[in-house]
């Protein structure tokens, strides 16, 4: 299993390289000149040219890429061309809040989604099932910012229950915990639906399986049958979905971070790409893609935990 994990890890390397390459060249085609960005709106041409020289932007493209990769291998992500802050430092300060936000969203969204899906599958075709499915479909149909602003309007402003202006501290502090609630509801809200739906169809499949009938024939109580024999087996596709949806979640994160002034990496990435802050944009792309790859790696490993048949392979 360790070997399995290691090999998956190795397999991720070319993907990561591809992401880097793609990211780098995408940034190159962006018609904005980073030198102008750095110089500011009222700078003169000479100043801009001087900055171009300084940033090495006059080097050929491939050379820039390899210089970049070379530095990357030494763990040097460069410094922001806008404010000279090392990219690693910026990433360091923003990744925490984003992780917190994602974690806070997933921690309720996944269990809730799974529970809803399971209940829906078990009571298939009943009114309860319909309600649950309607709710989960509705959940994936609302624009994220709309949900966020509505929450702010009601919970934050009308009833003044919760703060919504950023992250006063880590989520394990009381202030931080309160502040993360609304963003987490907003972001998690888009996640519950897909999880619930996938769980439902997956559990439904398994509920019809022979071994569930066997479990019933043994005289096990329904609760055990559903949790131990149906849900447990149904988790693999759910886990896959979660892995894939992490990417989608990021889209929501950018919006959520903006609405709630959450100082996360999503906003950093948007800002960096838009401002042609090449090193910073690259850095965020690496981190986000790496995150995605790692999550899916974890998913792979989780398969083996969930399904002994995968372990041998």
């Amino acid at each position: 299993m360790l070997r399995h994990t290691l090999e998956r890890l190795l397999l991720a390397v070319p993907v990561l390289f591809g992401v880097l390459l793609l990211g780098f060249f995408l940034m190159q085609v962006v018609p904005t000149d980073p030198a102008i960005v750095r110089a500011g709106p009222t700078a003169s041409m000479e100043v801009i040219e001087a900055i171009r020289q300084e940033l090495g932007l006059n080097e050929p493209l491939w050379k820039q890429f390899f210089i970049y990769i070379g530095r990357l291998l030494q763990g040097d992500l460069g410094v922001s061309i806008i404010n000279n802050v090392p990219v690693t430092q910026e990433l360091g300060t923003t990744i925490g809040p984003t992780l917190e936000l994602m974690l806070a969203s997933l921690i309720w969204a996944i269990p809730l989604g799974i529970a809803m899906g399971t209940v829906g599958a078990y009571y298939r075709g009943t009114f309860l099932d319909r309600i649950i499915m309607a709710a989960s479909v509705a959940g994936v149909s609302i624009p994220v910012f709309f949900l966020g602003l509505t929450l702010i309007w009601f919970l934050g402003f009308q009833y003044q229950l919760l703060p919504f202006t950023g992250r006063p501290g880590p989520i394990w502090t009381w202030e931080g915990f309160k502040a993360v609630i609304m963003p987490a509801i907003t972001l998690g809200g888009v996640f519950v639906g897909p999880v619930a739906r996938m769980t439902r169809s997956s559990v439904l499949d398994v509920l019809g399986a022979d071994h569930v009938r066997t479990a019933r024939a043994k005289g096990l109580p329904e609760r055990t049958v559903v949790s131990r024999h149906a849900l447990r087996n149904a988790l693999v596709p759910v886990v896959t979905l979660i892995g894939l949806q992490i990417g989608f979640l990021l889209g929501g994160a950018v919006v959520t971070e903006t609405v709630f002034s959450w100082p996360g990496i999503g906003r950093l990435a948007v800002g960096a790409i838009l401002s042609s802050d090449l090193p910073m944009a690259q850095g965020t792309i690496i981190v986000l893609s790496l995150g995605f790859i790692l999550v899916n790696l974890a998913v792979d490993v989780l398969y083996a935990v969930l399904d002994p048949r995968v372990r041998g392979a």
Binding site: V85, W153, L274
Partner: protein, 505 residues
């Protein structure tokens, strides 16, 4: 609930807080509190008052400025400020070697030197009428040499040491900027009642989303902001405890500029027609919800050297006349309602930043212009890409809004032929303008300066290089804990030094 900290909300962060490295107003509003300048600018935006310099003299030929400094000024780290600090800071600003985008603001410097510990001599190669105002801008802040050298590129990113009423505590980009009271500070400009800061701590918080900002103010999660959306100002002013104040002398103007060498818009008739067809009153009402003033002149009436005569030359809103003008100039309506001349469609592309107002202004103008048969295509860009885009020659016209202190500054900045391609995005290269501006800039007497500036204003108004739109007012909103706050607004810095503010309880 924030204890004894004053929380100020704003919508955007600066990329760094080195006075000479950032032109953003978001930087200026912080730097003004962290550092001081030799002179201060009064609430009227016209009067220069002492600050670090208690007095000054200007030589007859207008080339030598001698400043007498206060002797009681201390940096945040407790070190007393001397003339050498001033010399270092000003040289750093004006020296071309420091590649600052704002060096030119220092004028044609010959030398800056200290004659004793408290005297600084600022020598120019030729007279520079704007100098005193420029010395009042945050770019000319006096900073600590040791700290600059120690932090290098990270000065204004990781730390800062200067003589402002507040000291750098921490900066989390895109989130919070925290500053605390400078314990030594007692040299606040006389425009304030109390020369000492009275708030222990100030937290500047970035809230990129307008609605959130508005809700946060109303939910009392913050104390002050001058970024309140215009639509909310009336509502807010009705909320008990909330105070809304307007800075009438605030100079921050929105305009549309033409690239005068581009097809279609190089035709003066088109430019004039656009000017006449744009309903500025409606824009001020609808887009600014009546909180902005329509601009009927090239420059802001509150600004030094504003020329009332050229303002009267500005054509009034009159779509019918505009249409007639176009007819006369040979622009005939085509089959689709868009005018044509010599096979050329009356269409042009406008670029601008995507901020709160530009989308709406541009759409309103687009509708106005369609009525007289001109097709305006809009392309708005996010703030960060936008500056790059606005440096290109891809577009025919652009939206811009800018803060300034004198007419001379504004005109020099935008209309000198040496300022192409940016910030002279109009590609306005006119010898007469250049000459007049040179005269105004080097004038040593007020009248010469005023006259030359007025002549430029008339020339530009006549050529319809700009379509002035709205003068954006500043509205300071404060919560019930705050007392003594008064909007200032120089270079967008709504609270300027932040003195006189106290927190109840």
């Amino acid at each position: 609930q924030q204890g004894n900290a004053l929380t100020i909300l704003r919508v955007i962060d600066a990329d760094k807080y080195d006075p000479i490295r950032s032109t953003a107003t978001a930087a200026a509003e912080i730097v003004y509190m962290l550092a001081d300048t030799l002179v201060s600018i009064d609430f009227d935006m016209k009067t220069i008052k002492p600050l670090l310099a208690k007095s000054w003299t200007i030589s007859e030929d207008g080339k030598t400025y001698t400043f007498k400094l206060r002797d009681d000024v201390k940096f945040c780290d407790g070190r007393p400020m001397k003339a050498e600090d001033v010399v270092y800071s000003l040289k750093r600003w004006t020296d071309p070697a420091s590649k600052s985008p704002v060096s030119f603001r220092g004028g044609p410097v010959k030398d800056i030197k200290a004659t004793d510990d408290y005297t600084v001599v600022y020598e120019l190669k030729e007279p520079y009428a704007d100098l005193m105002f420029q010395l009042g801008l945050s770019f000319a802040s006096i900073i600590d040499k040791a700290s600059v050298e120690k932090l290098g590129e990270n000065f204004g990113v990781q730390g800062f040491n200067a003589t402002g009423p507040y000291c750098w505590v921490s900066w989390t980009p895109r989130q919070d900027f925290v500053m605390k009271k400078n314990p030594h500070y007692a040299w606040g400009p006389e425009i304030y009642k109390n020369p000492k800061p009275q708030v222990e701590q100030i937290v500047w918080r970035v809230i990129p989303e307008q609605n959130t900002l508005m809700a946060a103010m109303q939910a009392k999660q913050a104390d002050a902001t001058y970024y309140m959306p215009y639509i909310a100002i009336d509502t807010i002013s009705r909320v008990p405890g909330m105070k809304v104040q307007q800075q009438k002398n605030y100079i921050y103007d929105a305009f549309m500029g033409f690239k005068v060498d581009k097809p279609v818009v190089k035709d003066e008739a088109i430019r004039k027609a656009v000017n006449m067809a744009t309903n500025k009153d409606a824009i001020a009402k609808a887009v600014y919800f009546g909180k902005g003033a329509p601009m009927q002149s090239l420059l802001n009436p509150s600004v030094l050297d504003y020329d009332a005569k050229s303002a009267s030359l500005m054509p009034k809103f009159d779509p019918a006349a505009a249409a007639k003008l176009l007819d006369e100039a040979g622009w005939k309506p085509g089959s689709d309602g868009i005018r044509e001349k010599d096979g050329q469609k009356a269409t042009f592309t406008v670029y601008g930043l995507r901020n709160a107002v530009n989308p709406r202004i541009s759409e309103a103008m687009q509708a106005d212009l369609r009525k007289i048969g001109i097709d305006m295509k809009i392309q708005l860009w996010d703030a960060t890409v936008g500056w790059g885009k606005l440096a290109t020659q891809e577009f025919d016209a652009f939206y811009m809004s800018y803060p300034y202190v004198t007419a001379n500054e504004a005109l020099n900045l935008y209309f000198r032929s040496t300022q192409t391609p940016t910030p002279n995005r109009m590609n306005w290269k006119n010898e007469k303008t250049d000459q007049l501006l040179a005269t105004a800039t080097t004038a040593t007497d007020d009248n010469t300066r005023k006259g030359a500036n007025a002549a430029v204003q008339q020339q530009l108004t006549d050529a319809s290089v700009w379509v002035p739109l709205v003068s954006e007012p500043m509205w300071l909103v404060t919560g019930d804990r705050v007392e003594g706050a008064k909007p200032h607004g120089v270079y967008g810095a709504g609270l300027y030094k932040g003195l006189d503010i106290t927190l109840k309880r």
